[in-house]
Chain length 210, copies 2
């Protein structure tokens, strides 16, 4: 039983999952969401939809003007410009879900995660690591048809991301997907059992029952 | 994969489980130990063994002199006098297990837990709560042939113990044994994934592999 339910505190929690591309963080998040019924946040972007992508599913696709207006309205938990395209995490969307008691999982890059933690200190940050860099190289290579130079750029970027790990609360190594998924689930469960709430409420409840 | 294994940090962790009698903390601990292979600590006591109790299993049964000598030798993580009998948690025993990489679970009362946290700040404290006081009363009543007065004394003691909950890191409500066991297991797993270790080690490892 979640301590929150017991104390009629129905708010969900925000979990941020980051890690170098190729670590499988996307697959981990999908499995966790399926298994324990958390919600994922859909980001807003100014980039054009790719074939098969649907508005509101992969992203909310908006114009530059709409994006800038959302910034001005303080509508993002975090936003960034990546290679000329803007990406942002809409605030209202997430807060609604949290208030309705749903946990929300955000799959987001390290800069975004740092911004989230500033805006929302209760957020729990999880970093997904590859078992080692050789394995990460292998995963990136088997993914597509990237050149040696591009692969090296990717690995450099990965290493840069790993340097943000001290900002994170937890680290999970994805050597075995099944174990990594259950570890992330354990983090979610344990965070709900943490005594960060007002413990006087607990004492009062038991006193009244006596 | 435990982060400890990955970083060749082979030390185990110390978990303390407390809660009013009748909450089922003993059963929870037994199940967790069986499922995930943690070790339990055997306490030292000056009380006489009951029928069926074996030295070194339920307790290490010692004389008053032996007990006092262990206190003088700073051999306890905590010790207490309960109704004229002494109980203590031997330090060497636990430190050996932790150093050999085993997690240790201590089932101990609230005063003991507070002493442990002082002596060993890395210890993780888990409080097991009954779903409510009516249920606790029912469990205590069905246990044996105690008088109404004794039951009330027990419930008063339970309530007194609940007042220590703010010293604890986590709270687990034992409404369903299966869920409570898996929640304690999640806490153990999550605590191993916490980034309390030197994150520079992680960065250096991946840098060297690049």
């Amino acid at each position: 039983m979640k301590l929150g339910e017991f104390l009629a505190c129905k708010k969900g929690m925000l979990f941020v999952v980051s890690g170098p591309s190729g670590t499988g963080k996307g697959t981990i998040c999908k499995n966790v969401i399926k298994n324990i019924g958390a919600d994922i946040s859909v980001s807003m972007t100014t980039r054009k939809p790719r074939s098969g992508e649907k508005n509101g599913k992969e992203y909310f696709f908006v114009t530059e003007e709409e994006f800038v207006k959302t910034i001005k309205d303080d509508g993002f938990l975090e936003h960034a410009n990546v290679f000329g395209n803007r990406y942002g995490t809409p605030k209202a969307n997430i807060l609604d879900k949290l208030n309705s008691g749903k946990d929300v999982i955000l799959e987001i890059d390290v800069q975004g995660a740092v911004q989230i933690k500033k805006a929302f200190p209760e957020a729990v940050l999880i970093f997904v690591l590859p078992p080692n860099m050789q394995e990460l190289r292998r995963r990136i290579m088997t993914r597509g048809t990237e050149t040696e130079q591009k692969i090296n750029e990717r690995l450099d970027k990965s290493l840069h991301e790993v340097k943000f790990i001290n900002r994170y609360d937890y680290a999970v190594i994805n050597a075995d997907l099944h174990i990594a998924v259950s570890e992330v689930e354990s983090i979610l469960i344990a965070e709900h059992l943490k005594l960060r709430i007002d413990t006087n409420k607990i004492i009062t409840k038991y006193e009244e029952e006596c």
